[in-house]
């Protein structure tokens, strides 16, 4: 307001009102700006890794787990709809690529209209499931999520006798601690994969043969490791071989001493680490441009690198000590209202024809024994060691660590998953 306003004193009150209103607007605008600023990167598209939904309340009462006597005794007519929470690539319905579709035939056959939601990590899956407990009828849970779902009461026992595909699943995948609790089956096994060690053949010579070499601070390697607390189990696998007197029977069942030894081994590895990867394309970047030359990886990553133009010179093996791996289970929501469709969908996805389609698309070994004969790529099963029982004998599938030791010991308590997460955060620093 300029000095000597021509309006004089007559309209001061009005101007004061205007001023106050302007101030009110200004405060509102700033608050909105600050709110926008404070949500900065979250307002732009979020990456697939990590949960994308912010839960407002978490359920406190576990829905009562359905007792075994309530399991269906036969698959009835479809309810017309079913929703599935799956790893990307597991339940393709043609939206990503029109040719990659095994859901639409299912919908046409059974009348169960299927909605698919994908997730990036097991933790994200658990988060999504726990904040929307009635939303998803079927979930593909890796071993490090399945037990959590069972304990929280989110999934129900599955009557595997009425699912024809179950009979064709590899015996080695059945009755595992992460899909069968106290003799009760909680789902149908899907497929499996092994974590392996990959290296740049042009930069690393001689080729490494043991995980132990990746934990050696004087190795001179540039190491790329999986960014998840479950990676502690990889260190435990090494210790099972190099320090047998620690008595580790299962890399997911670690008591205080064993856990401390695993952490010590990981601390040793830290100086050589150049990458913690979650997104497989990031590991591919690092190997391609030389930021890393040795690391834990999945078969599909090596395949993709070798298939590039020009190909990136990498090779991979399952080292001598064995390895961690994963095997997924199709589970059913304890509050599902589409039980018949859910059972039909699981049967469809684990059937020989569909299971190999998923395995070839995703890049893993199929879970159905009849699948390999139906593979479009005749080498697929050989590459992924689908039918080699020996290969899997020293692969430890991901499993949620619990205080009640998963190797059956009752004289000690083991570190539970929360403690693994804490330790992992401490390690990264």
């Amino acid at each position: 307001m300029a000095i000597g306003s021509p309006q004089g004193d007559c309209c001061v009150g009005e101007e004061e009102d205007h001023l106050r209103i302007q101030q009110a607007w200004a405060v509102m605008a700033i608050a909105a700006l600050v709110a926008a600023a404070c949500t900065g990167p979250a307002a732009t598209p979020t990456p697939t890794a990590g949960p994308t939904t912010a839960p407002t309340t978490a359920p406190t009462e576990a829905p009562t787990a359905a007792p075994t006597s309530d399991m269906p005794t036969e698959i009835g007519d479809g309810e017309g709809a079913v929703s599935v929470l799956a790893w990307p690539g597991y339940a393709e319905d043609g939206t990503a690529y029109p040719d990659v579709d095994w859901i639409t035939p299912f919908e046409q056959e059974t009348g169960c209209e299927t909605t698919v939601q994908v997730f990036g990590t097991s933790d994200e899956a658990f988060s999504l499931f726990s904040t929307n407990p009635e939303e998803y009828d079927v979930i593909s849970a890796s071993g490090d999520a399945s037990l959590r779902l069972v304990r929280a009461g989110y999934v129900q026992p599955v009557n595997v006798d009425i699912i024809p595909s179950y009979a064709e699943v590899f015996e080695a995948l059945k009755n595992k601690p992460y899909n069968t609790v106290d003799g009760v089956h909680y789902g149908v096994p899907h497929g499996r994969g092994s974590n392996q060690m990959m290296w740049r053949t042009d930069e690393v010579d001689p080729a490494p043969t043991r995980w132990e070499q990746m934990f050696d601070p004087d190795s001179g390697y540039k190491v790329s490791v999986y960014d998840a607390p479950i990676y502690i189990a990889d260190a435990a696998v090494v210790l099972m071989d190099t320090q047998p007197d620690l008595g580790i029977q299962n890399p997911y069942a670690l008591d205080d001493t064993q856990f401390a030894a695993a952490i010590a081994l990981l601390e040793q590895q830290k100086p050589t680490i150049t990458q913690y990867w979650v997104d497989y394309t990031k590991q591919m970047d690092n190997f391609r441009n030389g930021d890393s030359n040795v690391g834990t990886t999945w078969q599909v990553i090596a395949n993709l690198l070798q298939a590039e133009d020009p190909p990136v010179p990498v090779d991979l093996i399952k080292p001598e000590e064995g390895a961690t791996g994963w095997s997924d289970t199709w589970m059913v929501n304890s509050q599902s209202e589409h039980i018949n469709c859910a059972y039909m969908l699981i049967n469809h996805l684990t059937s020989a024809e569909v299971n190999i389609q998923i395995a070839e698309w995703f890049g893993e070994a199929p879970g159905n024994t009849q699948s390999c004969a139906l593979a479009t790529n005749p080498d697929h099963c050989a590459i992924f060691h689908a039918e080699e029982d020996d290969f899997w004998s020293d692969v430890w599938y991901w499993q949620t660590p619990e205080a009640q030791c998963v190797d059956g010991r009752t004289d000690v308590t083991c570190k539970d998953f929360g403690e693994w997460v804490d330790a992992w955060q401490q390690l990264k620093g």
Binding site: D17, I21, A24, A26, V27, M28, A29, I30, A31, A32, L33, V34, A37, C38, T39, G40, P41, T44, P45, T46, P47, A49, G50, P51, A54, P55, T56, A58, P59, E61, A62, T121, D123, F126, S127, S130, R148, R151, A152, G153, T274, Q275, Y276, V278, K282, D285, N289, G290, D291, E402, A403, D416, F417, G418, V421, W424, Q425, Q426, K428, G429
Partner: protein, 299 residues
């Protein structure tokens, strides 16, 4: 004309008209109604979710089932007092401060040129140039920097003839990335602040014998300081909360956002909520100081 046809026209006003008359007489009611929806949304959606976050911090998670126990407990706050969290918090605040300083130093010459030196046409072009990166997705920018800082990336390649190397992946690289990402947020308020300085003040300073540096220190800087603080609100708060760039650019060094994210993954929401309250509290203090320094008028 019969009474039946004249009565509706003469006697009652339409509802809308009555409403208009009533509101005309009550300016405060008009204001309240106008603001009710946006302020209501702000309170319910924004403050409501903050309140729920606050509540969650006092609950705990059952280790066995993973479900939230809605009983009052302070154990999450006890877990904030660990060396890890303190280190991570200091690292985050330190990075935020470093980025803010760098952005202020870099933004000033650009904003000064735009406000006082450039012709109106060039000024317009520069404003567009400064704003354009904001249209690109955050992720694209962050991933591009990943490529730039890579072992065989553009930065190393261009420094090679001089025998130098880029910082590669790590906290220094991250500092570069943050500075790049938030620079427009600093340039614009400083530009606005510099534009507001009347030219007559600078001329008066020169007439009284002040040379450029003197004028800068005693005339321009005090006047533009609130604008710099206003810009710093953005750079500081955006760096404080970010978890995506640290994940892409550093090798495992964690910031507060990363810790919160990994606790979401357990999911240990109460602990994540307690951890989230720390940057919130820091920002509230920062905003109070900024208001003191006049930043809100400079926005």
């Amino acid at each position: 004309m019969t009474a039946a046809t004249t009565a509706p026209i003469v006697r009652g006003r339409s509802l809308l008209r009555s409403l208009a008359v009533a509101l005309d007489r009550r300016p405060r009611l008009r204001l309240v109604l106008l603001l009710a929806l946006p302020v209501g949304a702000l309170i319910v959606i924004y403050f409501g979710s903050l309140a729920i976050l606050f509540l969650n911090a006092f609950w705990s998670r059952d280790a066995f089932t993973g479900l939230v126990q809605r009983e009052f407990t302070l154990e999450n706050f006890a877990r904030l007092n660990t060396p890890l969290f303190i280190t991570v918090s200091l690292r985050t605040v330190g990075m935020a401060a470093a980025v803010t300083l760098t952005c202020a130093v870099l933004a000033f010459p650009i904003a000064y040129f735009m406000a006082r030196v450039a012709s109106p046409r060039l000024r317009g072009a520069l404003v567009v140039a400064v704003l354009t990166p904001l249209w690109a997705s955050y992720l694209i920018k962050a991933y591009s920097w990943r490529l730039i800082l890579a072992e065989d990336g553009v930065l190393n390649w261009s420094l090679e003839p001089f025998g130098l190397r880029g910082p590669g992946y790590g906290e220094i690289g991250l500092w570069l990335v943050f500075t790049y990402l938030w620079l427009p947020y600093m340039i614009l308020p400083v530009f606005a602040g510099l534009e507001r300085i009347p030219g007559s003040l600078l001329e008066a300073s020169a007439d009284l014998g002040g040379r450029s540096l003197h004028t800068f220190r005693h005339v321009i800087l005090p006047l533009v300081f609130p604008a710099v603080v206003a810009g710093s609100i953005f750079t500081f708060s955006l760096t404080m909360g970010d978890y995506i760039a640290p994940g892409l650019i550093t090798v495992g060094q964690q910031f507060i956002g990363n810790l919160i994210l990994s606790n979401f993954g357990v999911p240990n929401l109460p602990l994540a909520a307690a951890q989230a309250l720390v940057p919130l509290a820091i920002m509230v203090v920062y905003l109070l100081i900024a208001r003191r320094l006049g930043a809100f008028e400079a926005l």
